[in-house]
């Protein structure tokens, strides 16, 4: 049994629940995640798509590249999800939208080729150059 993971956007218009385990958590340094969040990295909690339920509202979807959809709240813009159809059974939740992000420390970095050089972020995790 897993305690449900809950979360939602800043304005509260969209809320979700995950009834299942977290596969992995990672910091993404790609330029698209940077623009999408407005932060310096996107950090994602990856779960099974079948375990995710929208308990209030639904995100709007933006197709950032063919096969990739990013979900966000139309009321406040809060980025919520990343889905790649090549991994259709999975969905990535933005960690900052979780009610308890502190419960899910990342285990790795991805797309480190485009990380910002002056940024020190969890430097002991794998993937860091």
């Amino acid at each position: 049994m897993h305690t449900p993971i809950t979360g939602g956007c800043l304005c509260g218009q969209v809320r979700y629940r995950v009834d299942g385990p977290v596969a992995h958590v990672s910091h993404c340094h790609c330029t698209m995640c940077r623009r999408a969040t407005g932060g310096l990295t996107g950090t994602y909690v990856n779960v099974a798509r079948a375990d995710l339920t929208w308990t209030q509202g639904q995100p709007a979807l933006y197709d950032s590249t063919p096969g990739v959809r990013r979900g966000f709240c139309v009321g406040c813009g809060g980025p919520l999800t990343y889905q790649n159809e090549q991994r259709a059974a999975r969905i990535s939740l933005t960690i900052g939208s979780l009610d308890h992000p502190e419960a899910h420390p990342p285990g790795k970095h991805i797309f480190t080729d485009t990380r910002i050089p002056w940024l020190t972020l969890d430097p002991t995790l794998p993937g860091w150059e």
């Binding site: 940077r34 932060g39 980025p79 939208s97 430097p123």
Partner: protein, 136 residues
């Protein structure tokens, strides 16, 4: 003050909203408040502070969300990118989401704010000074 070429340009992920800043970047800070976390979906939001009068949209207009009685967060209605934060308590300045700048690498962070609510395990630029509303 961070030296920078002007104008400083940036925009959202889909390109519907673009902006230019015709003045200096005053400072860049990592914000650890819980509202910025929710707004961005990131663990902390990094803002580059500019003079409000120096900022203009060169393409499109962002949507506005009033996250409190005195604060406005602007975002792209098409892709959700968080673009700016404006606080009535500091009406002459505007916080621009550093991740939306065309060259965020040119604006290294100089401090942390709202560190009381930072995520405990996060190791983010640990050498920088911090600030809290309580003064602790």
């Amino acid at each position: 003050m961070t030296p920078s070429a002007t104008p400083i340009t940036g925009g959202c992920l889909c390109g519907q909203v673009r902006y230019a800043i015709t003045g200096p970047a005053l400072q860049t800070a990592h914000c650890h408040c819980t509202m910025c976390r929710r707004a961005s979906g990131a663990l902390a939001v990094t803002f580059t502070v500019v003079n409000w009068a120096d900022f203009r949209c060169t393409q499109g207009e962002p949507a506005v969300y009033h996250s409190s009685s005195h604060a406005e967060r602007r975002f792209c209605a098409n892709c959700g990118s968080q673009l700016t934060f404006w606080d009535q308590k500091r009406p002459d300045s505007l916080d621009v989401n550093t991740g939306t700048l065309d060259h965020p690498e040119a604006f290294p962070a100089q401090k942390h704010v709202w560190t009381e609510t930072r995520v405990a395990w996060l190791e983010l630029d640990p050498g920088l000074p911090g600030w809290n509303p309580s003064g602790e």
